[in-house]
């Protein structure tokens, strides 16, 4: 099995365990994003892969070679740090060349590699400058140049864009994606920003409190979150989670959410579970103001309209529960102010076990 393989990786600081057995297989050339709230152990996991932290238990292998005890420099990985980690006393060219100089690569070769990398990153005109004379985006590029120039087997990124302003972040995100397409190097990218994860990743690993909640492509996570945590983390605004319980009538199971009854498809999982507390998940995007074929209506009290331009967020109250809808404006929001009924497309609803938070993996059908 080539690529990067993490097998039951555990990290403890003294008695404090911060990573609880991570299992992850990353294919060659894949772009994997570790995402999760701050403090969930993403950086720690990445740093164990880099060799900056020891691995308490489990094995790490890169291209079938166990790396647990291998020195960082011999792991053939390159890391890009959040604060760029540029040497303030060296100019851009020397910063990029640092790793090669340490490895005693011949001078002529270094010069050529630096030139190549500078061209890829658009840094040719800045090679003689010190980092303090560069903008944030340029510094970020130099930091990536330092990683690229070594032609490593794996790139590790730890929140590389979080020091940039929003506009530049979007721009650099696209650059990173393009760079990955061009270089095709296995990349592991850590971020707390789900938008960054969705846009960059081939596969996303959602982490929470030192554990993996779910692994999947961006669309898999969006469409089929394995549990309430992933449902709440992926997507913006997050999925509405409405508490209720299971009922059954002659036609089959229903979810009773306040006064709202939502018809559920017949399923073994839902049989003889009357009274079981459940959570119904409705994505804000899967709600419309106008009736569409197959949709069912829900009555709401409109609280607030937030305009985003082509879309608007409706903050509403549904039987005492907050409910957010993301609807199209068609360039006009006056018709939204009087809304008291929204329409939900039933085929995209999610049902979760309220106690375990796990997905009951049945699609709800119709509301009554």
């Amino acid at each position: 099995m080539s690529g990067v393989v993490l097998n039951k990786i555990v990290k403890k600081y003294g008695a404090l365990q911060v990573v609880h057995g991570i299992d992850l297989k990353i294919d060659p050339k894949e772009f994997v994003v570790l995402v999760g709230p701050s403090g969930c152990g993403k950086s720690t996991t990445l740093r164990m892969i880099a060799g900056l932290e020891s691995i308490t238990a489990g094995t790490l292998a890169v291209d079938d070679r166990v790396m647990n005890k291998v020195a960082p420099k011999d792991r053939d990985v390159a890391m890009v740090f959040q604060n760029y980690a540029l040497y303030p006393h060296l100019n851009v060219a020397d910063n990029i060349a640092f790793g090669l100089k340490i490895r005693k690569v011949p001078k002529a070769e270094i010069r050529q590699s630096v030139q190549e990398v500078a061209e890829i990153l658009g840094l040719t005109d800045y090679l003689a400058r010190r980092p303090s004379d560069l903008s944030g985006g340029q510094r970020q590029r130099v930091a990536m140049g330092r990683a690229i120039v070594r032609h490593p087997k794996v790139f590790l990124f730890d929140e590389p864009l979080s020091n940039l302003d929003a506009k530049l972040r979007t721009q650099m995100r696209a650059e990173i994606k393009r760079l990955h397409k061009r270089l095709g190097v296995t990349s592991i990218y850590v971020t707390h920003d789900q938008v960054e994860a969705m846009t960059l990743a081939d596969r996303i690993v959602v982490m929470n409190e030192g554990r993996i909640e779910q692994i999947g492509t961006p669309m898999e996570l969006f469409n089929n979150p394995a549990n309430r945590f992933v449902a709440g983390f992926i997507g913006s605004p997050p999925m509405n989670q409405l508490h209720g319980f299971l009922e059954a009538d002659d036609a089959g199971p229903v979810a009773q959410i306040g006064r709202l009854k939502v018809r559920l498809p017949k399923s073994e999982v839902l049989e003889n579970q009357n009274g079981k507390p459940v959570v119904l998940g409705i994505r804000p995007e899967h709600v419309t103001v106008d009736e569409v074929p197959g949709s069912f209506p829900i009555r709401i009290n409109l609280d607030l309209v937030e305009t985003l331009g082509s879309e608007a967020l409706l903050h509403t109250d549904l039987d005492g529960m907050t409910f957010v809808a993301r609807v199209e404006t068609l360039g006009e929001i006056s018709h939204l102010s009087g809304v008291d009924t929204l329409h939900v497309k039933p085929d995209l609803l999610k049902l979760f076990d309220a106690e375990t938070g796990r997905s009951l993996s049945v699609d709800a059908r119709t509301g009554t």
Binding site: A50, G51, L52, P72, K73, D74, V77, A78, M79, F81, Q82, N83, A85, Y87, P88, H89, L90, F98, G99, I102, R103, E119, I120, L121, G122, S132, D133, L134, S135, G136, G137, Q138, R139, R141, R146, R150, N163, L164, D165, K167, L168, Q171, E175, R178, R182
Partner: protein, 330 residues
């Protein structure tokens, strides 16, 4: 593929300028100053004790400097003494003892710069490599300690250690069959002992400022270097030392500015007439002329000369540093 970037999105830390409110457009400078004072009076109040200290102890005595150009007598007073122009300076530069004192001062300071200045830096770098926390703490405390001991006691320890009869140095030399040496009466031994004592006394305490500078180095620079394959030695040379270079240069400027100020107490405590030849520095000479022989005007002239030289040295060092390393005191 090249990347364009909006130059307006420069990182804010580059432009971390200190911003103040604009002065009101109307009204003169005086009004603006009064207005400023009214708003910021607390700050000036806090500054006041320091200003008073400067006036009383540094500026007021400057009035007395004029005796360097007068034939001063305590009975006539400063104002009543007649002007004599540069007579005292002519006397000074015709005086072999004074010229010898200048030469000794510069020599001792140069040696101190050569051996004494790097000592705390090396010590700080060594402490930085110690990983065992409690061992490090203990070692640091031990080397800081001499700084807090009075120079009189330090000199006493040194004199005892080098004493020809019971001193530990001569005792050890005796084990190897060497004859006892009267270290403190021999001119050629004064400078090594003086500089060694200075290092012992101050290197540890002096290392604190460099340790603080090292602590300020961004840790991810080291992590990045580790991933790049640097070993500890390379990290010290390529990261730690360049990162603390501004601190080193600032300390060097201060040190160069103090070249004329050889630690006066320690010289007085360690020298004796037999070693004046290598030990007598400008300040000790001034002390003997002024306070012991009562030639205040001559001593003041020597002191003024000393201060002017020191001033020129600080200015030069600062300018050079600013030009070559972008680091300067002002």
């Amino acid at each position: 593929m090249t990347i364009q970037e909006d130059s307006s999105s420069r990182n804010s830390d580059v432009l971390a300028a200190f911003e103040t409110e604009d002065q009101p457009a109307s009204g003169g400078r005086l009004e603006a100053a009064i207005d400023h004072l009214r708003r910021e009076w607390q700050l000036y109040l806090m500054l006041l004790p320091m200003v008073i200290w400067f006036i009383v102890f540094l500026y007021k005595p400057m009035y007395g400097l004029q005796i360097a150009f007068k034939d001063y007598s305590i009975f006539r007073g400063i104002a009543g003494s007649p002007w004599v122009g540069l007579e005292h300076f002519e006397t000074l530069f015709a005086n072999d003892q004074f010229l010898r004192a200048i030469k000794n001062t510069v020599t001792i300071s140069a040696l101190n710069l050569l051996f004494g200045f790097p000592a705390p830096i090396i010590l700080a770098l060594m402490f930085n490599e110690v990983l065992h926390a409690s061992y490090k703490r203990t070692a640091q405390t031990i080397v800081y300690l001499p700084h807090f001991i009075s120079s009189v006691i330090i000199a006493g320890i040194v004199i005892t250690a080098f004493s020809p009869t019971a001193g530990i140095v001569n005792t050890i030399m005796g084990w190897f069959g060497l004859d006892p040496v009267y270290f403190l009466t021999q001119p050629e031994w004064f400078r090594p002992i003086f500089i060694g004592t200075g290092i012992w006394q101050e290197a540890g305490f002096g290392s604190i400022v460099f340790l603080a500078a090292i602590a300020g180095v961004n840790p991810s620079l080291y992590e990045s270097a580790v991933v790049d394959g640097a070993n500890r030695w390379q990290m010290m040379w390529k990261i730690t030392i360049p990162s603390i270079l501004p601190t080193i240069l600032i300390m060097l400027i201060i040190r160069i500015g103090n070249i004329m100020e050889v630690s006066f107490e320690l010289v007085i405590l360690l020298y004796q007439p037999a070693t004046y030849e290598t030990a007598d520095v400008v300040n000790t000479w001034i002390y003997r002329q002024g306070l012991q022989s009562g030639q205040y005007d001559l001593a003041a002239a020597a002191g003024l000369f000393n201060a002017v030289v020191a001033f020129i040295l600080v200015m030069t060092a600062n300018t050079l540093s600013r030009r070559f390393s972008r680091t300067s005191l002002w």
